[in-house]
């Protein structure tokens, strides 16, 4: 490479690189990175948000390890992760297959199926509240009309049921998102591959397992990571629909953190929960990423 001295300063590589990266790093550092150590710092205090901050060392952290509600929230988060991945992804793939096939009404269906994704979580929460309403709600009225009132459950009031009711609404919200993701990937699969399989007389089922799914796999792992991360930090819909209750039965780490800091005014402990949530999410995603990436390289994945 020629000497760089003849270049004006603003065209030197290091300077250019920095200038291009600077705006993004600025926003990112200010609003995403810096708050993490700050939150950890807050977690060492007892602080009601108004009065004085009292340094208490790791007392909040000790309390966290013995806090049954936190562990329950974590368990609920894990349930949410598992169900999300097991329901949203397969449903997304199935719907994407349907819409990329030569199915007759796919145009109309494509329009309709995407609708839930366009609504805000707040709106969805409010809407589902009136679907689950015990007396005037859509679901119970429907069950009564078809003579199945014995199927009626206390959708949002029974601690054994509420988590699944809420997850159901979350699935409703996110399946269209994964459908779009998989549609994108399916469109990218060249037709020749299918035609070759057709000539070989392979059944549709076999084509799916031997051609479609392997080619889709990188998208599947990406989707799984998105789902994992999204589920671990999920908040909006639960906040509106059940508020984490009753008796913390649908509590998630994020709603618990919000509750402790902003409703019970324990900012220090809330920050502890936030940092724990961050750490758990980060470690889990990294492990997951490692595992899937390795497999992908072995299998000669795309990149």
């Amino acid at each position: 490479m020629k000497g760089l001295d003849h270049l004006p300063w603003y065209r030197r590589p290091g300077v250019t690189i920095s200038l291009f990266l600077a705006p993004a790093l600025f926003f990112f550092a200010l609003y995403v990175l810096a708050p993490i150590p700050v939150s950890f710092y807050y977690s060492l205090f007892r602080w009601d948000g108004i009065g004085e901050r009292v340094f208490i060392g790791f007392q909040n952290w000790r309390e966290l390890t013995q806090d049954p509600i936190f562990w329950r929230a974590l368990k609920n988060n894990v349930t949410l992760v598992v169900i999300s991945i097991l329901v949203q992804l397969p449903m997304g793939i199935a719907l994407a297959l349907l819409l990329t096939s030569r199915f007759r009404w796919r145009k109309l269906l494509k329009t309709i199926y995407v609708l839930p994704y366009l609504m805000s979580a707040v709106a969805i929460g409010m809407l589902w509240r009136y679907i689950y309403e015990p007396t005037f709600g859509l679901l119970n009225m429907f069950l009564e009309a078809i003579g199945r009132s014995n199927w009626i459950l206390d959708w949002l009031g029974d601690p054994k049921v509420v988590l699944y009711s809420v997850i159901n609404a979350i699935n409703w919200q996110f399946i269209p998102f994964y459908m779009l993701l998989f549609m994108a990937a399916l469109v990218g699969i060249p037709d020749e591959l299918y035609e070759a399989a057709k000539i070989d007389g392979a059944s549709a089922w076999k084509v799916f397992w031997t051609i479609t799914l392997p080619l889709l796999w990188p998208t599947v792992t990406n989707a799984a990571i998105l789902s994992l991360v999204g589920s671990l930090k999920y908040f909006d819909l639960i906040h509106v629909l059940s508020g984490g209750g009753p008796s913390h039965a649908s509590e998630l780490m994020a709603t618990y953190m919000y509750k402790r800091s902003f409703q019970h005014f324990r900012m220090g402990y809330g920050s502890t929960v936030a940092v724990a949530l961050f750490t758990i999410g980060f470690v889990l995603s990294m492990v997951f990423l490692r595992a899937t990436r390795c497999r992908e390289y072995e299998g000669g994945g795309k990149r």
């Binding site: 005037f136 008796s247 019970h264």
Partner: protein, 429 residues
């Protein structure tokens, strides 16, 4: 290209934002309260603002209504950042003391006297907004007792009498259930709604002393004492005898999910603060003809007097922030909130203002008179637990009570949990 467009947009929006943000007013006072629903309190507050702004055209009061569930959060965040509103509402008691000890609230005792509005308020009601004899918050809007409102037409049709004892209550419930009518319209996602049942049962069984001793930690008082365990047992008996609607644990009082049952003939009774009269008046006035109330029944062999009430002498307390720059106007505004006009307005909308001794003479409506007599007539009014307990213990009380309703805890467990929390709070271990 893209960049230029972005910059333009940014600049335009900044200018827009600025032009909208600037008002040509000399003095601005912000006021926060929770009355998002049209009704007595909201009408009164807005009327007071109108009258105040007419008399003081140089002052503008910016009213911010925040829904109940978010209110404490918003207020706390604002205080944490020294950005609290000039005038704000609270429920007095424990939470207000937290704000006071953080130095956020103005001691307005002297100013109240100077402005001549100190005597607007009932002394008992002022207590909850005071520390010692210094006043930090004045009671506006309502004197409250929890009463059982009931549908007179349903009771007549089924030949039911008002239950005066717990046993009679169970009988009434059985008849109602046989006729597919839910006995009580209860929405317990909010927790304080269910807490009313628990407070009444504990009072009827152990008398007001049981709670007082447990709270003050005197005379061997304990939240694990028999009165509280028994209250839990009776409560769960009510649940098991279908006293409450399907799904009541997830229903939201703020969304009127309870009252909707009352309006559609699906439920017959409604244990609620006496403000319900005003709420129902605003929501469904024609129902008032078919509505009456009684005091929560006694428990056979209980120590409590069945005429005791649970409630509060003042529901909403309005305070002025320590950092408010125009306290002289803020205090004048509090005068407008509690003057003759406000009294008339509150009464006309179904509330009983906690002002002065002669309120009774200003009430014409017979049902309102009856309500006033019930609320002001009792010797012992037990203050809501969640207002008299420190916030941390109030939370435990609300949580354990909700768990009792859900049959997730035994009465012993709930009482024990509450007692342990109290011991921890008072450092008794």
């Amino acid at each position: 290209m893209l960049k230029r467009a972005t910059m333009c947009l940014f600049v335009i929006s900044l200018l827009l934002g600025m032009s909208l943000g600037v008002y040509a007013q000399d003095i601005n006072l912000t006021l926060w309260h929770i009355h998002t629903n049209v009704g007595a309190a909201q009408n009164t507050i807005q009327d007071a603002i109108r009258r105040f702004e007419t008399d003081y055209p140089n002052v503008k009061i910016e009213e911010v209504q925040i829904i109940n569930d978010e209110y404490k959060t918003k207020l706390m965040i604002a205080m944490g950042a020294n950005d609290e509103p000039d005038i704000f509402m609270s429920w007095g008691g424990g939470p207000l003391e937290t704000y006071i000890s953080a130095g956020k609230v103005w001691d307005m005792t002297d100013a109240l006297v100077e402005e001549g509005i100190y005597d607007n308020f009932l002394p008992v009601a002022l207590d909850l907004g005071s520390v010692g004899d210094r006043v930090y918050g004045v009671p506006i809007t309502n004197m409250v007792a929890a009463l059982v409102f009931y549908r007179t037409d349903i009771f007549e049709n089924l030949n039911l009498d008002i239950p005066t004892t717990y046993t009679e209550l169970l009988e009434v419930m059985a008849v109602l259930n046989d006729n597919n009518i839910t006995p009580f319209a209860l929405a317990n996602a909010n927790k304080w709604t269910g807490s009313m049942y628990y407070m009444y049962l504990a009072d009827r069984i152990g008398g007001p002393e049981a709670f007082y001793k447990a709270m003050m930690r005197t005379d061997g008082g304990s939240f694990a004492s028999e009165a509280f365990i028994k209250a839990g047992e009776y409560l769960q008996e009510l649940v098991k005898n279908n006293a409450f609607p399907r799904g009541f644990q997830s229903m939201d009082e703020d969304l009127a999910q309870s009252r909707n049952l009352l309006y559609t003939d699906r439920a017959a009774m409604y244990l609620m603060g006496s403000w319900a009269w005003g709420t129902i008046k605003a929501e469904n006035e024609s129902l008032l003809e078919k509505l009456d109330f009684f005091v929560f029944p006694g428990v056979d062999g209980g120590l409590g007097d069945p005429s005791n009430l649970v409630g509060t002498p003042g529901d909403n307390y309005f305070s002025v922030a320590q950092k408010c720059e125009h306290k002289e106007y803020a205090i004048k505004f509090l005068g407008y909130l509690s003057d003759e006009n406000a009294v008339e307005m509150l009464i006309a909308n179904g509330h009983i203002p906690p002002f002065g001794e002669d309120i009774g003479s200003k009430i014409d409506d017979p049902m309102m008179k009856k309500l006033y007599q019930a609320v002001s007539g009792s010797d012992a009014v037990q203050l809501w637990y969640d207002q008299s307990l420190p916030p941390e213990l109030a939370q435990v009380h609300l949580d354990t009570t909700q768990a009792l309703f859900g049959l997730e805890m035994t009465p012993e467990e709930a009482a024990q949990t509450m007692e342990e929390a109290a011991r921890r709070y008072h450092g008794e271990n």
